[in-house]
């Protein structure tokens, strides 16, 4: 996968790191833009778009977590790769909860960085291409209607709900093979990539959220079924 046609925004206040990342991403064929502080990153996004944001956590103005939250609250679903000098699990989780897709602790290996950038873009490519046709862009089940392209759903109650990108991706993975068992590891790999989260419990939490949104009785799910010890099974129609 070459970097062709992908546009990456690097938000990093350290001029050396910023320049180094820019040069390397350019060498891989990406179109790269850089900004040095959080508020400017938000401003940049008000007028432009990109396919991936490489976001430092410690930034002047508005920190990386704040930038990510602001962009997500404005409906931006562009994937975010966090870079940070703090790499303990609590910080990772904070970054991912703020809406990040992946997390890399400084100092990092250049090749790992490039690998992760490509992995995130590959996941998004899959999501976009599998939602490209009018038929695959919309999923209907049990009175719910999910629009994958708009990240929006109308629940059986008639309420319109905004989906986070991760919720939409999980739904997409499950809906690809209705009736078949999808393991937790599979979901993690397809939606988050490798070694991002400390445990597969995260997947369970997302499934709970989806049940709350789309099941008439979340305690007695009819669509998002648990297969004990393995993973989940998604049913479009109700279990006979």
């Amino acid at each position: 996968m070459s970097g062709g046609n992908y546009r990456v925004l690097v938000v990093e206040d350290d001029p050396h790191l910023s320049a180094g990342l820019q040069e390397n991403l350019r060498a891989e064929g990406f179109e790269v833009h850089t900004v040095g502080d959080g508020l400017k990153a938000v401003e940049w996004f008000a007028e432009r778009q990109c396919d991936l944001i490489v976001l430092d956590v410690m930034l002047p103005g508005l920190d990386g977590l704040g930038v990510c939250r602001t962009l997500r609250s404005r409906g931006t679903t562009t994937p975010v790769l966090f870079l940070t000098a703090r790499g303990d699990p609590a910080d990772r989780i904070r970054g991912l909860e703020a809406g990040g897709d992946d997390y890399l602790a400084k100092p990092f290996h250049l090749q790992e960085f490039l690998l992760r950038v490509r992995a995130i873009l590959r996941r998004w490519d899959w999501y976009k291409s599998s939602s490209a046709s009018a038929a695959s862009a919309v999923l209907r089940f049990g009175g719910n209607e999910v629009d994958f392209r708009a990240f929006r759903a109308r629940a059986f109650t008639g309420e319109v709900q905004e989906l986070t990108e991760k919720e939409a991706m999980i739904l997409k993975v499950l809906a690809e093979k209705p009736g078949e068992i999808v393991s937790r590891e599979d979901l993690l790999e397809r939606v988050w990539g490798y070694d991002v989260f400390p445990s597969t419990r995260t997947v369970d939490n997302f499934i709970l959220r989806l049940r709350k949104r789309f099941e008439r009785d979340p305690a007695q799910p009819r669509h998002f079924l648990t297969v004990w010890g393995v993973g989940y099974r998604f049913l479009i129609g109700e279990e006979p």
Partner: protein, 359 residues
């Protein structure tokens, strides 16, 4: 560390045990004194009974007094000599008093020991906590230049580069090393300063020359960032300070000013000085990013890098202003900071005592 803690806790335990031991000793001695007195009283009672029996048996009074000297016999009446009773009561009182005073003194001394050990333990816990957070902050400060170094090296390893690109990367790496070196020396300075382990001289230092030396060493960097440094320091001002400390303070303040002006794309730094009363005031004013007046108190804390919205402290370690403050405190000077807000520049004012009156 753990062994030291075990020793301290053992000492504390021993002292607490001693407190109980001394308390027990006081009670025990008092009981013993009382029981001795009771035994004596019983003995006197026996003597009294014997005396009365002897008198009834017809022993003359003088003879009886010779046999039982603790009794007084007068007009056929026998009783314990009141002087003996008084002496006994006085002795009892003296003993009990002695035990109370001695025991009380030991108890007080032991309680003081407990308090001292307890305070030492608390102080040590505090120091450990501070050291931990200091270490966390220090390691965090190193990660950015390390990440930059690693990125440059791995880039060189991964890609064929033109000589010009290689030169850029090498310059970048050298600058990263310089950053880490500055960080190391500032960390050492700040550790020494916060423990007060510095021997500062107090001697006359010609201020203008000291300022000029520092400014001259930074002119090139300033010019690269399109920053002009102007100095207005009268040649006759001589302050009472440590020449090395003055150098460190000036260097840190001008570094700080450069870091504040660089992000706004250049500007001015003015270093001026004047006599005020019996002291000398030196002001470093810059047209840089400034800071919120509310953040003024935090400026001089360790690792407090304020982020005033324009990427000020690119290369800041967060230690420079802390070092300035400690050095000024140690030489009996002061440092204050002022800014009218973000983007409106800032002003740092130092004061030193004036060296002996000049002609």
């Amino acid at each position: 560390m753990k062994t030291a803690r075990i020793f301290q806790l053992t000492a504390l335990l021993l002292v607490v045990v001693s407190v109980f031991q001394v308390g027990y000793w006081i009670v025990d001695q008092r009981e013993q004194a009382l029981s001795k007195v009771a035994a004596l009283e019983r003995q006197y009672d026996h003597e009294l009974a014997a005396g009365r029996a002897l008198l009834t048996a017809g022993i003359p009074e003088e003879r009886l007094h010779g046999l039982l000297p603790d009794l007084s016999v007068a007009g056929g009446q026998v009783q314990v000599d009141p002087r003996v009773t008084e002496a006994l009561a006085a002795e009892q009182h003296r003993r009990i008093n002695q035990y109370l005073w001695e025991g009380g003194f030991f108890l007080l001394a032991l309680c003081a020991c407990i308090a001292v050990i307890w305070m030492a333990l608390r102080a040590e816990a505090q120091v450990l906590k501070e050291q931990d957070s200091f270490l966390a902050l220090v390691s965090h400060q190193f990660k950015t230049p390390l990440a930059s170094l690693q990125l440059s090296l791995e880039t060189m390893n991964l890609r064929p580069l033109s000589p010009e690109q290689s030169r850029t990367l090498i310059e970048r790496m050298l600058a990263d090393l310089q950053r880490m070196e500055t960080l190391v020396s500032q960390i050492l300075d700040s550790v020494r300063l916060s423990r007060g382990r510095v021997d500062l001289k107090r001697e006359p230092v010609p201020l203008a020359a000291a300022v000029m030396r520092v400014v001259a060493s930074m002119r090139e960097r300033a010019a690269n960032g399109r920053i002009s440094i102007e100095t207005e320091v009268p040649a006759d001002l001589t302050i009472l300070a440590d020449p090395l400390a003055v150098d460190v303070v000036m260097r840190n303040l001008i570094e700080n000013a450069l870091a504040a002006v660089t992000p706004v794309g250049g500007g001015r730094i003015i270093v001026s000085s004047r006599r005020v009363g019996s002291g000398v005031e030196l002001t470093v004013r810059d047209s840089g990013v400034g800071f919120r007046p509310a953040d003024q108190a935090r400026l001089f804390e360790k690792f407090s890098r304020l982020n005033p919205g324009a990427g000020s402290s690119y290369y800041g370690t967060g230690l420079g202003l802390y070092i300035v403050k400690r050095l000024m405190q140690l030489v009996g000077g002061t440092v204050t900071a002022r800014s009218e807000g973000l983007g409106r520049g800032s002003e740092f004012v130092l004061t030193w005592p004036l060296a002996a009156e000049q002609s």
